[in-house]
């Protein structure tokens, strides 16, 4: 790791102010992505501004049909939260299979989506549930937020403060873990909104990051059952391929994980 200056911000405003004063600052949430990259000397921020202790970025709120998870809430706190389990149990499940216990105690929802790793779990949930990303400046729909591999709509110095999820009628998440890294080799989040709309999002699969799977959405809209996906054909074109999963295999996983997610959603 190169030399850096660490700051612990006590408020979002202070974090923004510190960012403005630094030459090449990075925000630090749970550190599950930034710190390993810094240790490998692949990132050399002049300043690291820790958002993890900012009180206004902590916690979960359930208000009517909206579940709001503040950005610096850890995966562990999300998966054990009673409101999450009650309103969107699929999110509790997703966080319970995200990484390992050490990751879940440190990693945060804001950190996960801000990095937009193509194999991260949370982007699939946001996209499938039609969530809204709240920042210190604005609200951004999940659709607009994720803009491709490691790319988001966030502007320089903009801080995610929360994610709001409309509570769905049904939702489920299933994934195949990468044998080495344990990230999602492919994960699929399925959701049926209270108005009957169906949204399906896959992570780990596409070269462009998290993606909607419209063919499966159409099949499930007609018939919400695993069997409805049997006839769907997923193209391997544009999908990721590496030593642990060919594009064809990932195409298969999109289908199989979608079926299992529907079964889990009930």
């Amino acid at each position: 790791m190169y030399q850096t200056t660490y700051h612990r911000a006590s408020s979002v405003d202070e974090a923004v102010s510190l960012f403005g004063k630094s030459s090449e600052a990075k925000f630090l949430a749970g550190g599950q992505t930034l710190l390993p990259v810094m240790k490998q000397r692949l990132a050399s921020p002049s300043d690291v501004i820790d958002l993890g202790k900012i009180k206004e970025l902590q916690g979960v709120e359930l208000s009517g049909d909206t579940l709001t998870i503040k950005a610096a809430t850890t995966y562990y706190d999300i998966m054990t939260n009673a409101d999450v389990k009650k309103a969107i149990p699929a999110i509790a499940h997703l966080t319970s299979v995200l990484g390992d216990p050490a990751v879940r105690y440190r990693g945060t929802i804001g950190g996960s989506i801000a990095n937009n790793d193509p194999a991260a779990d949370f982007p699939a949930a946001l996209l499938a549930l039609g969530a809204t990303v709240k920042t210190n400046k604005r609200s951004i729909s999940a659709e607009d937020f994720f803009q491709g591999l490691f790319t988001t709509a966030l502007e320089d110095g903009e801080i995610i403060t929360a994610v709001s999820f409309p509570v769905p009628a049904k939702a489920g998440y299933e994934k195949m873990r990468h044998p080495a890294s344990r990230f999602a080799l492919t994960g699929v989040f399925v959701a049926q909104t209270k108005s009957g709309e169906v949204r399906v999002a896959a992570t780990g699969a596409s070269q462009s990051g998290v993606m909607r799977v419209t063919a499966i959405e159409a099949a499930l809209k007609a018939n919400w059952s695993p069997a409805a996906v049997d006839g769907v054909s997923i193209s391997a074109s544009g999908l990721l391929a590496d030593i642990h999963g060919t594009a064809e295999y990932r195409a298969n996983l999109i289908k199989v994980m979608a079926q299992r997610a529907v079964a889990a959603a009930g």
Binding site: P179, S181, H244, G245, T246, Y249
Partner: protein, 780 residues
């Protein structure tokens, strides 16, 4: 058996310090004035080093020196050696290119060091290394063994035309051809034994400390065999004569073979310490471990097995290409020859065997012994062949094995090895019973109804341990003898120190070796300590590998104990005014048998050291040593059976049951044996399902971190069902065979046999990743 004697499940003495963080590893050692080394390594698989500009780095804070490959050559430090000479079938010696500790002219694999920065701290050394400019001229590279032997392939070493190190044969080709000519059935199989990265938990490390006044070096290093390291560093690398070089291998966090070898980093640290006049420390990081620790396996093999009409094996033909990487590591040449092809008879009567092994250079990390070293490759091949044969001949795989088992001993195989004893039916029976083999078809049918593909796979392995009779290995080309030495020191107050040339790096020697003393003297193991891993303390030793420490190292201790006991009995008999023949040792006392006359061990020891009243002519003291050279290899054997399910949607494998019935001869500490088997099985399963060190066509490593290289985790493996069937090894007085590698040798075939049974397709390479299994299920 006493409560702490042979056969007792004694809790490991060493674990108190390990689990409380008090282990003392090389990286824990800090010497006054110590500097830190950071190596500059080639990013290219094959390149000329055109120039190294260290002028900017030398101006950076804390930099002591930047040393290059040319300087180490100029200082006449020797090239790395390969310690086992192999002769090709045409009678020519193996062909090797030079391996300097740092490359002066040509780099041949990614990660090969070209220079080293010595600085006041690790970070300063790393910072400065980024400022060293190395000018490379890239050369074409080759990583695949078949590509490397093609005409026109990039050539690594002028000494080895066609990238061929040797073309070696064993067995009777004429007899084997005759057997195939008469065969009723022939079974053919192509298999790849995937390349593995060893990944000991502790990375390699070294601290070199040169004392200019004494012209003496001390090297602290992560070694499985510090005496061998000293021997090689002295005799071949011109570092220092043996009496001017002390090698200390303190606590070592796992080796699996990878810490047998003497690596460039230790040599450079020693040389640099003298050059800069200060201690030099190097601790590798995980990336360096992936790039530079000797890899394991990497064979490509075609094999054919001939059967008569009664399903008896009549012949075996094997041709193997072994990928050695870019240089010949210390024992690499012996692994695919004498440690592999000599085990190709498996547990079976095979009248004729012929095997040919072609050793090949490629632009990859050097390959050498890794847990099992040749025997996993042999066992995997034979057990995949047996399963393939059972399918082709439409007979039960267990029955086919039984039909061909060797049942009388000793048994001379056609490939050198003479098996001393064993009972292969007993271990097969035990494993089949443990897994309820007869009930499998019903379980398979039930799994099918649940949408799962269930399979069962058998693996009957045999291996050779306790290496080895020195005369025998010498005649086969080994550069060293493979005996072991020990010394027993009874202190004046009766406590005991055992000095051993074996080296524990996780095996629990500090407990098991004490158990032999407890067994023989009836003293608690708390009165005994084990001294190892220091060339200044222990007279000599050949180290720990090849599951040899109990069969060879402990036997050496036994021999020294017998000498010590004989002297102690003389002292006791003198003190008790009894006949030496009437003295027995019980519960820490020397007793006159049939009487209540006794003298405690501390009193005997004290008498030996005060020397006030010893038998006439007896030397004072109570300390004896022994060298023990085994008379034969030992032959651990057993049966592993794996039952698993494959998810047809994802190709993912889930274990249902895994049973192991091993014959290790006598067990000293069954708990430690079980731990060894667990670890070995996990490594075997890791090879079968997860692990693969991969290079792209240009020799760039694709799996140089745990993000890409899949190590087995606890939830990847089942809870194992272990048992033992025992035939005592006749070759050593304790009847020990060895248990350190069996799991890694036998497990992978059981897993692949089970998966191929589940999916109904025979051809499946390791690692059987979900992707690969899914594609195999859905292929053609």
């Amino acid at each position: 058996m006493g409560v702490e004697g042979i056969g007792a499940r004694v809790v490991r003495k060493e674990d108190k310090r390990f689990i409380t963080g008090k282990g003392r590893y090389v990286d824990d050692i800090k010497l006054t004035g110590m500097t830190h080394a950071h190596f500059i390594r080639s990013p290219h698989a094959h390149a000329k080093v055109k120039g190294i500009d260290s002028s900017a780095a030398l101006k950076m804070p804390g930099v002591v020196a930047v040393l290059t490959g040319q300087q180490i050559v100029d200082d006449k430090v020797g090239n790395l050696i390969c310690g086992w000479a192999i002769t090709s079938k045409d009678g020519s010696p193996m062909k090797m290119g030079a391996w300097p500790a740092m490359a002066p002219e040509t780099v041949r694999f990614v990660g090969q060091a070209v220079a080293v920065v010595i600085a006041e701290s690790k970070n300063l050394a790393r910072d400065a290394a980024e400022a060293v400019v190395v000018n490379y001229e890239e050369l074409p590279a080759v990583a695949d063994v078949h590509a490397a032997i093609k005409p026109g392939a990039p050539q690594l070493h002028p000494e080895a035309p066609g990238n061929q190190v040797y073309d070696w044969v064993i067995g009777d080709e004429g007899a084997t051809d005759a057997a195939f000519a008469k065969a009723a059935n022939v079974v053919k199989l192509d298999v790849t034994n995937n390349r593995l990265a060893p990944n000991a938990m502790e990375p390699r490390a070294a601290i070199a400390d040169y004392d200019a006044a004494e012209e003496h070096f001390t090297l602290y290093t992560t070694s499985q065999n510090p005496h061998v390291a000293r021997l090689v560093l002295s005799a071949f690398y011109n570092i220092a004569p043996e009496h001017k070089l002390r090698v200390i291998a303190p606590d070592v966090g796992g080796g699996f073979g990878s810490k047998i070898f003497i690596y460039p980093e230790e040599m450079v640290a020693l040389w640099a310490s003298k050059k800069v006049g200060r201690p030099v420390k190097w601790t590798g990081d995980r990336t360096e471990a992936f790039l530079t620790d000797a890899h394991g396996r990497d064979h490509v093999t075609h094999a054919e097995m001939a059967f008569d009409a009664n399903n008896k094996i009549t012949g075996l033909k094997v041709k193997t290409y072994a990928n050695f990487g870019a240089y010949m590591s210390l024992f690499s040449s012996s692994v695919p020859t004498y440690l592999y092809a000599t085990l190709l008879s498996g547990q079976y009567n095979i009248p004729a065997i012929h095997a040919e092994v072609v050793g090949v250079y490629t632009n990859t990390t050097p390959v050498d012994a890794y847990r099992g070293a040749g025997r996993p490759e042999a066992s995997y091949l034979i057990e995949r062949l047996m399963e393939t044969a059972a399918r082709q001949l439409k007979v039960d795989p267990a029955q086919l094995r039984r039909t061909n088992f060797i049942t009388t001993f000793p048994h001379q195989t056609p490939v050198i090895m003479a098996y001393d004893t064993g009972d292969f039916n007993a271990s097969l029976d035990a494993a089949m019973k443990a897994i309820d083999y007869a009930g499998f078809p019903a379980r398979k049918a039930k799994a099918k109804a649940d949408g799962k593909l269930r399979g069962i796979g058998v693996s009957c392995y045999i291996e050779a341990c306790g290496i080895a009779p020195s005369k025998a290995v010498g005649s086969l080309g080994a550069g060293v003898g493979l005996w072991e030495s020990a010394e027993v020191r009874v202190n004046p107050v009766g406590t005991i120190e055992i000095l051993t040339g074996s080296h524990s790096h996780g095996q629990g020697h500090e407990t098991t070796f004490c158990q032999l003393v407890a067994e023989r003297l009836g003293v608690p193991i708390s009165q005994v300590s084990i001294v190892h891993g220091d060339t200044d303390k222990v007279q000599f030793g050949m180290g720990t590998y090849g599951s040899r420490s109990a069969a060879v190292g402990l036997t050496a201790i036994l021999k020294a104990m017998e000498k010590m006991e004989a002297k102690a009995k003389k002292i006791a008999a003198h003190a008790l005014e009894a006949s030496e023949a009437d003295i027995v040792i019980e519960n820490g006392e020397f007793k006159v048998t049939g009487t209540d006359k006794a003298i405690a061990l501390p009193m005997v020891a004290l008498a030996a050291y005060t020397a006030h009243n010893l038998p006439d002519g007896m030397e004072p003291g109570l300390k004896e040593s022994a060298f023990y050279d085994p008379t034969n290899f030992t032959f651990p054997a057993g049966t592993y059976i794996c039952e698993l399910e494959v998810d047809p949607g994802t190709g993912k494998t889930s274990f249902v049951n895994f049973v192991a019935a091993d014959d290790f001869g006598r067990l000293i500490n069954p708990m430690i044996v079980e731990g060894q088997v667990h670890g070995g099985l996990v490594q075997g399963i890791g090879q079968a399902l997860l692990e693969h060190a991969i290079y792209d066509a240009n020799g760039q490593p694709v799996t140089a971190s745990f993000m890409d290289y899949a190590m087995p985790r606890a939830d990847d493996v089942p809870s194992f069902n272990l048992s033992h069937t025992t035939t005592l090894c006749p070759g050593n007085p304790l009847g020990i065979k060895g248990c350190g590698e069996a799991g890694a040798i036998g497990a992978s075939a059981a897993v692949i046999n089970a998966i191929t049974d589940a999916i109904g397709k025979n051809n499946l390479e390791m690692p059987a990743t979900p992707d690969r299994v899914w594609r195999t299920i859905h292929a053609g």
